[in-house]
Symmetry: C2
Subunit: 193 residues, 2 copies
Amino acid sequence: MARTAGSHSDITGPKVREAALKLFARGGFAAVSMRAIAAEVGVQAGALYNYTPDKQSLLFDLMKSHMTELLAAAVDNAGQSAGARLDAFVGFHISFHHARPDAVFIAYMELRNLTPENFARVEALRRQYEDGLESILRDGVAAGAFRVEDTKIATLAIIAMLTGVNTWFREGGRLSLEEVTAQYRGMVRRAVT
Amino acid sequence: MARTAGSHSDITGPKVREAALKLFARGGFAAVSMRAIAAEVGVQAGALYNYTPDKQSLLFDLMKSHMTELLAAAVDNAGQSAGARLDAFVGFHISFHHARPDAVFIAYMELRNLTPENFARVEALRRQYEDGLESILRDGVAAGAFRVEDTKIATLAIIAMLTGVNTWFREGGRLSLEEVTAQYRGMVRRAVT
DNA sequence: TATATATCTGAACGTGCGTTCAAAAAGTAA
DNA sequence: TTACTTTTTGAACGCACGTTCAGATATATA
């Protein structure tokens, strides 16, 4: 009974989300029609409404899933030194974001298309993620390992800097992602030391 | 004869650009209709076509103007020390961007709505701006004042970090823009030293 | 096999889009 | 005041939008 009669919603459902993710990232939420998403899935537009109540919710689901996965994947070992934790954060952030450019793009660009309520929910998740980095910085300051005037500002500065990698880094370019990550680790470490 | 007969296009023209700037920033290019822009100006939609050949060109003009103003305003005194030039760059970037949040927002968010040709033109201007910072970094490295592994990466990292201020800074908050700028100057300096 | 449920189609709904253009209005020059 | 130019209106164009839904189709259970 794990699967009800006549169902292949467990096939089409994910396809709808994948298609929406890809097309929203490429063209922007407002510029992508439900018909375009349906065509990408291989279905008529009406069928999409078996999987989302409306276009808005589709966007919100994508953003919420992205933030939830981000939070679930971000592990922080408070037992280690603040320096090691910061290095780990830099590596994690760059590689996690590099692996899902479409979701990252949408999460940053389509915030204004959320209802105020949904916007607040996504923002709360984002703040939670930022808090993870900030507590590393605070612990480092408390332990005398870091010198940071304002940990909140440093947090935002570091995250902006790291997320920026997604806008220009391309596989097969002059440097590998590992080399790029190493350089960012160096800059971040020095910035807070 | 500085003004041709019957003209008040020198009043309406700027109003069209201002309205488009405001509404594009608020709602996104695709979501803002020509009728909405016209309403903001106080005119019928058809009248807009005295001031732009089409909606696309309106967007491109806004972005090109923004980048042109940015380049014109960014002065770099090569006579000073690299450290002083870098400090000046940080202050300039933050204050210039703070003063025109709508234009900055559009310049970053609506790139994908440009035709390939117009995109290339805007990108060229952006690269020119980045080159300004990179030459400061290179000079600093050559003079032994900075230690940077890859000046291109450092350039992109610094710009991403500074531009990020626009996403969260609000007048009247915990810190003044001057205080924020001072902290960014510190982080940037340390990151490259 | 027959029955029941889940899924999808295809057409339709009202609405708003970017753009065009003839005619009207507003302004300037003589 | 008259002649002329610039600017704006207001209606119209064909098209695409998000969403709904009755009916058709596919799948699973018994």
